[in-house]
């Protein structure tokens, strides 16, 4: 059963202005965009990119622009909190966002890219780019009245925006998961153990393992801990994905480095799970 967002939508003008400011600021061209330009449009040199931006871009369909520019203009999880905090409790519809993107395009602004060589190139700030940026903020995802009231009333001010953004996830359209989060949040408040890491952990655990009750959550946390412990025990004998090995890590063996990365990651999961388990007792 979902709860419906009944509030009037917020004025999108302040968000629109913030988006314009972010998108008209200098953009360092990402490696992924550079790779896409090389792979799909044979733009291997700065001159070729310059020509493509001036001539080729105009010939692209909107979906092709989206495929090309989406990686550059997706707001990453870590940047999302910083950017979207002032708007975290606002209500915007998908239509509001799409209209705002069109309004931004109508201003005929430009995005400036700085390439690895230092060359700066401009492209039109299109609705495709603006919409990608705005939708990746997920502010158009509903936040129910009850959740909003709860956040404003019961969440420490320092964490309100973070919680409001985390609760935009689709899973929290269900009242039972809202209730579960609220119950956990009350227990976190009572023990004064709020951290952003813990907020993310709680919302991710609910999304990934969909506990039906607090008792069910306790059991699932136990199995999560066990699963992490089992993989940590065999980490030295198997490989895992982890961030790229850098030169500074060359002193240690690769396998050991990988195993340590696994252990560090899973240790943090276990730590967060144990904190949560204590709250459930």
């Amino acid at each position: 059963m979902t709860s419906v967002d009944t509030r009037q939508t917020s004025s999108i003008v302040p968000l629109q202005e913030a988006v314009i400011k972010a998108l008209t600021a200098l953009q360092v061209m990402s490696e992924q965009l550079r790779t896409k330009l090389a792979d799909h449009y044979t733009c291997l040199t700065d001159e070729q990119i310059q020509t493509f931006f001036a001539e080729g871009l105009l010939k692209l369909e909107e979906y092709e622009q989206d495929l090309l520019f989406a990686p550059q203009f997706t707001v990453k999880a870590e940047q999302r909190i910083a950017f979207a905090s002032p708007f975290a409790l606002n209500v915007y519809s998908k239509k509001d966002v799409e209209a705002a993107a069109l309004a931004i395009e109508a201003l005929k602004l430009q995005v400036t890219f700085r390439l690895a060589s230092g060359l700066e190139l401009k492209v039109p700030l299109t609705a495709v780019i603006a919409e990608r940026f705005m939708k990746s903020l997920h502010l158009h995802k509903p936040l129910s009245d009850s959740l909003r009231s709860f956040i404003e009333r019961d969440i420490p001010e320092k964490f309100r925006a973070h919680v409001a953004l985390a609760l935009r996830d689709d899973i929290f359209q269900f009242e039972k998961y809202q209730r579960l989060f609220i119950e956990l949040a009350h227990r976190l408040s009572a023990k004064a153990v709020w951290t952003t890491s813990q907020i993310d952990f709680v919302t991710n655990v609910i999304k990934t393992y969909t506990p039906q009750t607090l008792e069910d959550l306790a059991e699932k946390l136990e199995r999560l801990i066990q699963s992490c412990q089992e993989d940590m025990a065999t980490a030295e004998t198997r490989s895992y994905h982890h961030p790229q090995i850098l030169g500074s890590n060359m002193g240690s063996s690769h396998d050991h480095h990988e195993a340590q990365a696994v252990k560090d990651n899973y240790s943090q999961i276990i730590k967060n799970a144990q904190v949560l388990k204590l709250l459930l007792q």
């Binding site: 990746s136 990934t208 699963s227 490989s239 994905h241 090995i245």
Partner: protein, 548 residues
Amino acid sequence: MMNATNESNTQKFPAWYDGVRAKEVLDAYNNGGGSSLAADEFVAKSILPASTGASRDFSYIAPELPQLNSENCVGCMDCVTNCPDTAILGKVVMPNTLEEALAGIQDEEYKAHIRQQFSETRKYYTAFQKKHEKDPENNPEGGMFGIFIDPTKCKGCGECVAVCGDHDALKMVKKTPDNLPQYLSDFGFYRSLPASPLTHINAKDKRDIMLKPAAIRQYAGGAGSCMGCGEASVLRQVFAMTHEKVGDRYGIVASTGCNTVYGSTYPYNPYAAPWTNSLFENGPADAMGIRAFWDQQGQEDWVVWNIGGDGAMLDIGLNALSRLLASGMNVKVLILDTQVYSNTGGQQSTASYTAQESKMGAHGTSKGGKSEKRKEIAQIALMHPNTYVAQTIGPLTTHFYKVVERALAYNGPAVISVYTTCQPEHGVADDMAAIQARNAMKSRAFPLMIYDPEAGATLAQRISLEGNPAPNRDWVIEKDADGNDQEYNFLSWARTEGRFRKHFDKDGNPNSQTILNAMQDRLENWRLIQQLAGVSNEDFMKSIATPV
């Protein structure tokens, strides 16, 4: 109103195929009871039925599984294309078809969850919907796009997350007994849907081939390759494109190597096409025999692929490969170049780089890894008469598919040498196949090159270096955070791989002459192919103009 058309999902077995026995064998192996089975005709003849890898259950392997944030997905298909295990698949489904399928789900929460796996991407939804609204008679409506994980195939390498990159549409989550069942259910839903409509498969974007069930089936997964294996994703792409061009009219001769070990572990066969294994040294001879027989039978339009690693093709089987190329026979050769004998424990091959540490190329007090220079098979191959040659990497899908299409169309021998990341032997993480291949290319360790005998009258016209960054420079020059020029050279890439780690100090500075020799070797190789391609290198021109 124009309707979307579907490709059939059904597959017929040939009359000789004993499906009951095959199921009995697969069930026994999946449940650990393979050793108690009686011998059968397949074993007696060393035959593995096609595509049995599809039945292999690897769900006990992955420590983590990918989780989709469909809101951020643009439908680029990079994750699907680069998966080595056919474990992540895309689907376009028409909205009414999706609603009909969802109507069969009673649990409202699960229904919502499934709905969230789909999104209205610009590529498959908005682009079509806009045209449909203008002219419904001639344009189908927009399709919903979803990504689904097959947890029985996913090994948890995280390659899909790495190539998704800044799209931020995928992340890895810990697999536990609590979320695994949902992945299985979700994938069951994916399988219950009709095939993606042909109308929505983008002919301009080759990555969309992987939306076709027949293309996906060419390499069904269930192979015993390592997590994130760079070879397996290349094999998937090659045979998907081959099927796209010639349908089922192709066969594979595999020279012994990793590909034959993970690709033929009884009773699991990932291939849909006829496949045979020959030893390291005689795959090309075997392929020539099949070519000759098919030609004799009037099957000149059938494609023969000979696949092998650098050990088979550059070392043990080079004579046979050279004989094949000299014959002018229409055989396509795919070299999976891991620069090491990955299969037998990581011995040095002639494709290994100078300074690379490997077995028989150990790094010690008297020797710092391999001291010889790397052999360049592409240059050797192109000196054979009328041979199409390409050197490429899998994750550059446009370049990669372009050379595969051209090799298939070329009426004569064709060699495609592909850099393939080997995680255990290169000393890189499981999700790094695409990133390390791109960086190897960028660092000039493995430049892209195409030699097309029909592309012009001169060598320079026939050789293309299209796809390499800064093609007229020695190295790629970038600005660092402070705006200073920063060279991306062989060392920049080598220091990110464990196989070269002993040549760098703890700060990443080179500490041996051997690694500097390796860099010089790569520079000389790059300059050589620039000269062959008629590309003027401004750095080289400056260096020879400067009085000593």
